[in-house]
Amino acid sequence: MAKAPQMITANRLSDGAVVYFTAGKGWSVSFTDGAVWNDQEGAEAALTESKESVKARIVVEPYLFDIALTDAGPKPTSARERIRADHKPTFEPDYGSWTGPIAG
């Protein structure tokens, strides 16, 4: 049984955006709004509840993932979830010099 605290995440059906299950049983795009479960039973019960949103066609495939409770607040422990929490790739695409009218 996982000892680490956990959160629940999923992707929104309409646009695929990363969302987190909140204490109010809703979904938020902000990682910081995600509810934290410290025990496995509570986490799994919440996961079952979160699946109501699948039937309601709000999200697809919710799952539990580990977080760490740091001084700066909860943080995902895996690279994958850190990247998902940012909602974008880890680099800035070099748009400034390409997009917009090309000289010449």
Partner: protein, 560 residues
Amino acid sequence: MYRYDEFDATIVQERVNQFRGQVARRLAGELTEDQFRPLRLKNGLYLQLHAYMLRIAIPYGILSSKQVRKLAFIARRYDRGYGHFTTRQNIQFHWPQLPDVPDILQHLADVEMHAIQTSGNCIRNVTADQFAGVAADEIEDPRIWAEIVRQWSTFHPEFSYLPRKFKIAVTGAPDDRAAVRVHDIGLRIVKNEAGEAGFEVWVGGGLGRTPIIAVRIRKFLPKEHLLSYLEAILRVYNLLGRRDNIYKARIKILVQATGGEKFAAMVEEEWQKIKDGPLHLPQAEVERIHRYFAPPAYETLADVDPAFETAKLENAEFARWARTNVVKHKVRGYAIVNVALKLEGATPGDASADQMDLLADLADACSLGEVRVTHHQNLVLPNVRKRDLYTLWQRLKAAKLATSNLGFISDIIACPGLDYCNLANARSIPVAQRLARHFSDPRKLDDIGELRLNISGCINACGHHHVGHIGILGVDKQGQEFYQVTVGGSSKDDASLGRIVGAAFSEDDIVPAIDTIINTYLANRTERGERFLDYVRRVGVDPFKEALYGPATARRPAAE
């Protein structure tokens, strides 16, 4: 290039209508995600890390300027202003929204494009050599056959629920630029003793968890039997391919388990029953398709263009680009231009909507309206008059499309990796960016010489790392990103799979590790002309192990 007739157009349009209906049923709750998933995959729509991803087919890599402009439009209107060209000559958009996808497909259908079968357990985009029709060394144009196979495989009622995905590649030149030996079916156009062209058929190649080089099951297949023979292979696979384990479900596993010779015999037995049936290709249809690939109206030009020669003498940067990125065309006075999507520090294979629009204009102005996609994530302007090269280069340079690194270490092939992809273990793009910056000095590139570097973010190997001269594979160690290095792979006629050098490197250590590998090569090659690949084949992995991990490790097997 091929143009749709009323039948092709009807089929694509009806598919758009069908998918529109399927999306509506999904959003209304009449389809669960489990039921919808295979349907959306067959229309190229994935659910990825941050968003949906739509993979659009570019049949054998050919695009008209009109199609390129439409891709730019879609990037702006429905996505975030850019697209990503892949190792299978497709394009991906990383941010479409589900309710918009039917409209996107409609826009594509309006310019004879689609996202049909770019995912799912069915026959995927048929890829070909990016210089088809214009290469000086070509035996015969493979695009005709790629188009014939595309049509036969589209909505094939028997082969739409295969054990796993199925990828076919065709090459028409002795120098295999289509990596046919690492495809499920690879077709090489060859000539028999009578001088007739036909196909050498390879089966069961592939990368991923179990990389395997294909087995040749037929030395010569007459052209008119192509479809019946493919049908025989697919039927054997559909019936006997494993369905109990998705990691063992490709045809390569079946071929290895059965044995190449026995597999060939099974195909032959099936084929004998069907070869003279309705799949026997009528000459009229071959000729009909052939006409679309007739050479365009080339001008009669001298081989040497004085303006081009002068420009090279006067501008060293241009001269370098001409040396690295311009390839000999089969017609005098013309050249094939490789447009690098490998700006150092940028994402390999990405192009912005503005760059796409510019390329469409350039294609119209100096490439007879055509652009191509390579499976090295670059583009090609295939029909450029030598006298236009300098002006073209200036315009490419202004748009950051003139990186002179084709085939060099900074011409990196990288999958989207953990920045985008749900399947990935590690990010590949930042590694590619750092490596490209590290190896940006043109003199260094020249000194290192020909070097194919491929990065995959996971074992699915979409970056084709197994066949890189240097391959980098992202692996997950307790939720953190690590990178395993292989050396000595090749995707060409001398196809080989890379060998692991040793334990994986952290994100911080991977660029220094590659640097060490390169320095080992530079210090020990016999002469400047000994390519990295040849050096590896000569000395094996030990010199690299020693340099990377210390002398004591050289005799031990790779730590895993």
